[in-house]
């Protein structure tokens, strides 16, 4: 995947900057080099719902681009300062033409990402507040976690509001669940969270 961007310069974006707005035509395909980007939408009640997080090495918005919709279905916002490469979609399309090997890689990668969207949306829509927070932590451990002994450190700094947005909960409800999980020893730390792998796995299976 990175070969498709190797000739491009790195562009820098500030934390909080929105790279793509929901409903915008897909003009560029990005490769994330450094930092984290969250993908979210706005619900009918006005609250924000964060669905997935992209990490270095990821490329977006491939699901919108390859599904043929032509417009982005979500907002793509920098969670940290970001370094990325951007290739105009017409150029990207030209590079794929005639190259079955690249096509196979794109199909595999995009299918995995779209499965993540489906799983996260299912998790967000049909569970208790506690289950939503546990599912989110398990997702984050897999997606942006770095093993540190018996714990996993989440490499992306998270505010209470961001955790709430990723669970489709109010900040108060999400904070209450996080306090309970901290008391149980599943989570510790403040902005960079540390998760107890064994305890989290048990809760996830329960």
């Amino acid at each position: 995947m990175e070969n498709l961007f190797s000739d491009l310069p790195i562009r820098k974006f500030r934390k909080g900057q929105i790279l793509i707005y929901e409903g915008d035509p897909v003009e560029n395909i990005y490769l994330l080099v450094e930092g984290y980007v969250k993908v979210s939408n706005i619900l009918a009640n006005g609250s924000q719902r964060t669905i997935i997080i992209y990490k270095p090495g990821d490329s977006f918005p491939l699901t919108s681009f390859l599904s043929g919709e032509g417009v982005a279905r979500y907002f793509y916002e920098c969670m940290t300062d970001v370094e990325a490469k951007a290739r105009p979609q017409a150029d990207f399309q030209a590079m794929i033409k005639g190259d079955l090997a690249i096509g196979e890689q794109l199909i595999t990668y995009t299918y995995k990402i779209s499965q993540q969207f489906v799983e996260r949306i299912e998790t967000l829509s049909a569970q208790s507040a506690r289950s939503k927070v546990i599912s989110l932590l398990a997702y984050l451990a897999k997606r942006v976690g770095v093993p540190e002994g018996a714990k996993v450190k989440l490499n992306v700094p998270l505010t209470s509001q961001e955790i709430a947005d990723m669970c489709s909960l109010t900040r108060e409800t999400a904070s209450l669940q996080m306090i309970k999980l901290k008391k149980e020893g599943v989570v510790n730390g403040r902005r960079h969270l540390y998760l107890d792998k064994v305890k989290l796995k048990k809760l996830e299976a329960a």
Partner: protein, 133 residues
């Protein structure tokens, strides 16, 4: 081999819609044999129509395929599909199915460089509207 081709034929049906276009339905999870069989059949039918100087329009329904297999097992089928998209004689192909189908087929269409002649949609209504021009 005979057993395989019989099983493969159970997984798709191809017929001429009363409106005059070729219609294909994929039914159930697909195998390399079933996809390649359907592609070969469609190529033959489209060629026949073009030989009579008729429009070769094809509608493909993938909504009844529960799981899209993107594994290496299906790589040969994807290769044959791209080859047919590139070389076969046809005017337009409209495919409809879920997001996984849309991603898969659109990527193959981009590899074949045939976005002007093949489009993928979420619903039959949209697909028919584009197919009929």
């Amino acid at each position: 081999m005979k057993y395989n081709s019989v099983m493969a034929k159970d997984r798709y049906k191809i017929f001429v819609n009363p409106a005059g276009f070729i219609e294909t339905h994929f039914i159930g999870n697909q195998t390399p044999d079933s996809v390649i069989g359907a592609v070969e059949d469609l190529v033959k039918r489209a060629k026949k129509l073009k030989a009579h100087e008729e429009l070769a329009l094809i509608l493909v329904d993938v909504t009844e395929v529960p799981k899209i297999d993107i594994s290496g097992k299906m790589a040969k089928a994807r290769k044959e599909a791209v080859k047919a998209m590139t070389n076969a004689e046809y005017d337009r192909i409209a495919v409809y199915g879920n997001v996984a189908v849309q991603i898969l087929v659109n990527t193959l269409v981009m590899i074949a460089g045939k976005r002007d002649k093949i489009r993928v949609f979420a619903s039959r209504i949209e697909a028919l509207k584009w197919l009929r021009g």
